[in-house]
């Protein structure tokens, strides 16, 4: 049964505050973090909850992000429920430990206010930080709204700590666009969240009564088997995610799926985009449809594991797929999102034309007109029967 409306607290919250509330309610044992814009407010809010006696968690305000993720791994190893938050350079500094967290199977929830990577230094949004960590073994969930940021953070604990999974989860929100903008957020009552997230049941934690060694050397003898198991675990995510979401939907009436489709059934051109760009894309689709153009949108939420089959099915018989992405993979055969989508569609009987538009790097605005420009180009390329491998839009050339 969905929770009755009078028990729901509605507040205007930024994405950062919404996540801070989710972390407060998720009953953490440890949060370790280092400040970085545009994430910092998450931890500041959380520290205020701590000072007000609203949480039980120990907050470790470490001296760098490398230490933050390391402390999280340690706290998770003893069986705690653990979270951290960062962005950009901070995320990059965690690099070494990201891989350790994932392969040591530590169910840490890591919220990221996605921000461009240096250099030059830039504090605004793009997805180069998240895309950079895409092979680390983290599950990656990108959010379109502050509500979704709150919901996803709560679900992330269930997903991460599930015994079939035991993997860290990154929850991404667009820096400033979501992290600092206020939206209407419905918050569940504390006891309902407590029921939903439960208490972590650790598997083989560090325990003085039952000593075990973590992280010893595994060379040619066993290393590969660890990776094999990790690979199996991440491939079990879609099933568990569906179950967790179904439970969440029961109490809230909300669900997001691995991706969201919008007017795709009869679409000739399908836009694929992530995070807040999804919202803009849907508005653009509405306007273009009023003009008689069959445009639809797939807004991808789960980047890792990538829902390849689902995307292929959702694209169906569309003539073209126009990808709008906020990251570059310099010198690659395709940029990160396009690389996945192209691979996903390779098996399709009638492959659509695939366009890759790199937009919005370093926080460059991506207004509806950028999408329209991409769609106009797509129509030209469809007519011509060929298209460039990728294009950058909204940049001085």
């Amino acid at each position: 049964m969905t929770i009755s409306k009078d028990k729901i607290k509605i507040e205007g919250l930024t994405g950062d505050s919404a996540i801070a509330h989710a972390l407060r309610q998720a009953n953490l044992d440890v949060l370790a973090a280092y400040p970085i814009t545009p994430q910092t407010i998450i931890v500041e809010d959380y520290q205020r909850f701590a000072a007000d006696g609203e949480i039980n968690a120990a907050v470790i305000p470490v001296e760098s992000e490398h230490s933050a993720m390391s402390a999280c791994v340690g706290a998770s190893a003893v069986g705690g429920r653990v979270a951290t938050a960062s962005a950009s350079a901070g995320l990059a500094l965690m690099w070494e430990i990201l891989y350790v967290a994932a392969s040591m199977r530590m169910p840490i929830v890591f919220t990221v206010a996605n921000r461009a990577l240096s250099g030059p230094i830039n504090i605004h949004n793009d997805h180069s930080d998240g895309m950079g960590m895409r092979d680390s073994g983290f599950i990656q969930l990108y959010c379109q709204s502050c509500q979704e940021a709150y919901d996803t953070t709560l679900m992330a604990f269930r997903l991460a700590e599930h015994h079939d999974i035991l993997l860290p989860v990154m929850v991404g929100i667009d820096g400033f666009i979501l992290s600092h903008n206020v939206e209407r957020v419905e918050m569940l009552p504390d006891d309902e969240v407590e029921k939903f997230v439960g208490v972590r049941a650790p598997v083989d934690p560090l325990d003085p009564n039952n000593p075990l060694t973590m992280g010893p050397l595994a060379l040619t003898d066993y290393y590969f088997e660890f990776k094999e198991q990790q690979d199996r675990a991440i491939n079990r995510v879609p099933k568990v995610y569906k179950e967790v979401e179904a439970e969440f939907e029961k109490i809230t009436g909300r669900k997001y799926g691995q991706f969201e489709t919008y007017k795709t059934e009869d679409a000739d051109i399908i836009i694929i985009a992530m995070s807040t760009m999804g919202g803009t894309a849907k508005v653009v689709a509405d306007v273009l449809r009023e003009k008689g153009e069959k445009v639809g949108v797939i807004r991808l939420k789960m980047f890792r594991p990538f829902p390849a089959e689902g995307i292929a099915k959702a694209v169906g018989n569309a003539k073209a797929v126009a990808i709008f992405e906020k990251a570059m993979s310099f010198g690659a055969a395709a940029h990160p999102l396009a690389m996945e989508v192209r691979t996903a569609l390779y098996e399709s009987k009638e492959r659509p034309m695939i366009l890759d538009f790199v937009v919005g790097l370093g926080g460059r605005d991506v207004p509806p007109t950028t999408f329209v420009e991409g769609i106009e180009k797509t129509k030209e390329y469809l007519k011509a029967g060929k298209a460039p491998k990728y294009e950058t839009l909204g940049v001085r050339k």
């Binding site: 280092y34 400040p35 970085i36 814009t37 910092t40 931890v43 500041e44 520290q47 205020r48 000072a51 907050v59 305000p61 001296e63 760098s64 992000e65 350079a89 500094l93 240096s118 250099g119 230094i121």
Partner: protein, 281 residues
């Protein structure tokens, strides 16, 4: 003939990228004062600004490098000293000066500080200690005093941790020149920066500064003028005091002066000597 109105220019503006003005600093911040100290020190020494490299990390203080009209590098948060070591080792002819914040130098980049001191590589590190991470909005860090308030150590408890004393840290790590001043002691601090630059070895100059926007506001320390007046009141000059006695208590006493000035083999010189030997010269 019309008379052109004379434009008043700051005497130090010759070293500053005026096209980057105004400074990003809040009113009442100490960083502008320290920028002036460094410009004057360079001017007083008469060193070639074009052979002077200014390196900084990320933070409000970290923005300093970009305002100087010479070769500068705005690096990443915490790594200024490591970048600067690269510059100095690759071209020992250059005068290398690092200007960075307390968080940059002693939190995320603390490791580089102690190792550069130990190595005794010839450079000058000016650390503006405003006792918090100013740029990110005033969180506590390793220089924040016990029980002080910040964005991450709110009322009623404040900071649970205890701060580093950076003078003691640099001295015990092996720096050959160590001094501390407050941002109001401009003349003395400038003199120490000059000595630090002239020193063939690792020099560390800490300038205690005010961040009225974040730290000052949260701890009700008053506006920029009040904070700087306070710094003058509590500053106590004790040149030559053993560094382990150079106490710092914002409310009551900030021991200032030059505490270490010793001679030790300098790293790039030792490296060059080793290379000469290896080549049998």
């Amino acid at each position: 003939m019309t008379e052109s109105t004379p434009v008043l220019r700051h005497p130090m503006s010759k070293y500053i990228r005026e096209d980057r003005q105004p400074f990003i600093y809040c009113s009442g911040c100490s960083i502008g004062i320290v920028t002036g100290m460094l410009a004057r020190a360079i001017d007083n020494l008469g060193i070639d600004i074009n052979k002077t490299v200014i390196v900084s990390g990320i933070g409000c203080t970290g923005r300093t490098s970009g305002y100087f009209k010479t070769g500068t590098y705005h690096t990443t948060h915490g790594r200024a000293i490591a970048f600067a070591e690269g510059v100095k080792i690759a071209n020992p002819e250059l005068e290398v000066i690092v200007v960075s914040g307390d968080g940059d130098i002693s939190a995320i980049g603390g490791n580089h500080l102690i190792h550069a001191c130990r190595r005794n590589i010839d450079m000058t590190v000016i650390c503006i200690n405003n006792m918090n991470y100013g740029m990110t909005g005033g969180q506590f860090g390793p220089t924040t005093e016990h029980e002080r308030y910040s964005q991450t150590s709110p009322r009623p408890y404040g900071n649970l941790e205890h701060p580093f004393n950076l003078v003691k840290l640099a001295a015990s790590s092996g720096a050959t020149f160590v001094a501390r001043w407050t941002a109001v002691q401009a003349r003395r601090a400038t003199k120490s920066i000059e000595k630090a630059i002239e020193k063939e070895g690792f020099s560390f100059v800490e300038i205690i500064g005010a961040c009225p926007t974040a730290y000052g506001r949260m701890n009700r320390l008053g506006d920029g003028v009040t904070m700087h007046k306070h710094l003058l009141e509590v500053a106590e000059i004790q040149n030559g005091l053993p560094p382990h006695e150079a106490e710092l208590d914002y409310a009551t006493k900030i021991i200032c002066g030059e505490f270490v000035n010793i001679e030790k083999p300098e790293y790039t010189a030792v490296l060059a000597e080793m290379q000469r030997k290896a080549k049998g010269e």
